[in-house]
């Protein structure tokens, strides 16, 4: 199944799974942000693969992919700002230690 739509979709699914695993397993806020970026890029890979293998999807694919890139950038900006704000308050990036609300 080399160079077929399925191959790219499997790769994208794997990347997405790795991203989700990273998000759930990592305890560092920055690593969790990176995992989310990985998931979004996996989605982008799927979108571009659909566009390049299915003719009727081609006109839309690049537009959607660009939009996703823009949204990912906006999300990263807001996310990093929040991480910096909480780091200044707590002096740690580890989400396990953000537990004062549960007490």
């Amino acid at each position: 199944m080399t160079n077929s739509l399925d191959a790219y979709l499997v790769l994208s699914g794997l990347l997405f799974a790795i991203g989700s695993f990273g998000f759930l397993a990592r305890r560092n806020a920055i690593s969790m942000l990176m995992s989310i970026e990985l998931m979004l890029n996996a989605v982008n890979l799927a979108i571009v693969a659909f566009g390049s293998f299915v003719d009727r999807l081609r006109p839309n694919a690049s537009v959607i992919a660009l939009m996703v890139i823009a949204v990912a950038a906006a999300e990263a900006t807001v996310g990093l700002a929040i991480v910096i704000a909480i780091y200044r308050n707590r002096r740690t990036p580890l989400v396990d230690e953000y537990d004062s609300l549960r007490q």
Binding site: L9, F16, G19, S20, F23, A29, M32, L33, I36, M39, L40, A42, V43, A46, I47, F50, V54, R56, L57, N60, V63, I64, M67, V68, V71, A74, E75, V78, G79, A81, I82, V83, A85, I86, R88, N89, R90, V95, Y98, S100, L101, R102
Partner: protein
């Protein structure tokens, strides 16, 4: 893009201009709150008028990706009132804590543009962009008290799980688009209609895409078991923000459900009926059970908002079970919940006017004697949240439960669960009333002065809470028009 298209989206453009205008006014008169507040509230009034005018000529713009119909108008006006009320309640809480009000109003109006875009979009990609446009300002607002470690802690939990769910939703969206060949909701509905009417079988990839989209949306409305972020995000955020988060993004996510699930997946509704029933039952029950054990009023209201999501899902389940009335009930509940819940949070925010006052239950002890009016209004909102007639909350619950009973089958059981839950919820709502009127405070506090805007907002929410309970017919006719616009 034509001139007609621009005219159709004029409310949206106006909302963006209002947000920019607030920022400019703050630049000209830095640190003064009156000009910024006046600009924001007047601007929202203009946006509301434009929305009502645009709603008179239903139609589509941008090749069918933007739709103006009765549902758009109803939801837009609801979003505008949510944002206007939140701006009215905010100064009392923000000012003593030295938090700027102009940026608050501007970010809130930017979130409004996202919510308004959700209500009008009939295109998967536009829906996703609108969703992000609504939630990104929400993350910023949750972290608004950036030197307060609780606010930033709530915000990072909200942000991390929010963007995780956005990524899941987007993954589903990519597959639905790739396998149906279009991002237009109408085209996706047509493709899925072929499958529903016995055409080709549902492709595994498409089923996967739909499942991922459902999961993403369930996170956004905080349905159990996707609710873990809610209590922390709500408790940590500054109180006016919590009030906004508990209604704005929630009604916005329900608007997304209406546009996406009802609009595109309507033909497959028999297939997602079971999922919605299970989600609704779990969400109501767990939300209420955990709320019973809370001693912090903000956290209690957070769990209660999860339970209210469950009641709204009962309306969606009734629709999936074949009753159009379910959608009417859902929309009516959305409006009723908006006003009573915003009102309740406004009282909490007013109580926290003095910095350092927490939202623990003890704060409410003796409030009925110290500030009788505030105590009576809080009682009204809590009674409405419980669902006691003649308040808005009663009719909201009555309509969704009635629709579920009419749909019959497994939905009858769901209706019974909903009623049992409403009875259990009375315990924790009325506990606050007991504290306000029958407990002596540990330390006698001074009655506090509250701004005129806060009173105006409190009167608006309380009058609407009572009016929607006494004469439900006008709103009912509006929501039935809105539900009909969505198709059957």
């Amino acid at each position: 893009m034509s001139g007609q298209d621009l005219l159709t989206i004029s409310p949206l453009i106006a909302a963006i201009l209002v947000a920019v205008a607030v920022l400019i006014v703050d630049l000209i008169a830095p640190g003064r709150r009156e000009p910024a507040l006046a600009t924001a509230l007047l601007g929202l009034g203009i946006v509301a008028i434009l929305t009502a005018v645009a709603g008179r000529t239903p139609g589509q713009a941008f090749g069918g990706s933007y739709t103006v119909d009765a549902l758009t108008t109803f939801l837009d006006l609801l979003f505008i009132s949510i944002v206007a009320l939140t701006i009215a309640f905010a100064p009392d809480y923000l000012e003593p804590r030295d938090l700027p009000i102009a940026e608050f109003a501007a970010v809130l109006v930017f979130a409004l543009t996202g919510a308004m875009l959700i209500a009008a979009s009939t295109d998967l990609l536009v829906l996703f962009l609108a969703l992000e446009l609504m939630v990104l300002p929400g993350y910023l607002l949750a972290a608004y008290a950036k030197h307060d470690s609780l606010s930033t802690e709530g915000a990072i939990k909200y942000f991390l799980l929010g963007s995780f769910s956005s990524a899941i939703f987007l993954f589903g969206l990519a597959y639905v688009w790739g396998l149906t060949g279009s991002t237009r909701v109408a085209d996706v509905a047509a493709e899925l209609g072929k499958i529903a009417s016995g055409g080709p079988a549902l492709a595994p990839g498409l089923a996967l895409g739909l499942a991922f989209m459902t999961t993403g949306v369930a996170f956004k409305i905080a349905a159990v078991p996707f609710h873990y972020w809610t209590p922390d995000a709500y408790q940590g955020s500054p109180t006016p923000v919590t009030g906004y988060l508990s209604v704005g993004p929630k009604v916005g996510a329900f608007a997304l459900i209406l546009r996406l699930f009802v609009g595109a997946l309507g033909s497959l509704r028999g297939d997602w009926l079971d999922v919605v029933i299970v989600l609704a039952a779990l969400t109501m029950t767990l939300g209420n059970l955990v709320a019973l054990t809370q001693n912090n009023v903000k956290r209690m209201l957070a769990y209660s908002s999860i339970a209210h999501t469950g009641y709204m899902l009962v309306g969606l389940a009734a629709y999936a079970g074949g009753r159009q009335e379910g959608l009417q009930g859902l929309l009516y509940y959305g409006a009723a919940y908006t006003f009573m819940n915003l009102g309740a949070f406004a009282v909490v925010a007013a109580l926290q006017r003095r910095p350092g006052v927490t939202s623990s239950l003890d704060t409410f002890a003796g409030l009925g004697r110290r500030e009788p009016l505030l105590g009576i209004l809080m009682t009204l909102f809590l009674l409405s949240l419980t669902g006691i007639p003649p308040t808005a909350g009663f009719f909201g619950k009555a309509y969704v439960i009635l629709a579920a009973v009419q749909a019959g089958g497994p939905l009858t059981i769901l209706a019974v669960i909903a009623m049992l839950n409403a009875a259990a919820a009375a315990f924790y709502y009325l506990r606050v009333v007991v504290y306000m009127f029958m407990r002596e405070p540990a330390t006698e506090g001074e009655p506090q002065r509250h701004g005129n805007l806060v009173w105006a907002g409190l009167w608006t929410t309380s009058v609407l809470t009572i009016l929607l309970g006494l004469i439900p017919a006008p709103l009912l006719s509006v929501v039935s028009d809105a539900a009909r616009a969505l198709g059957s």
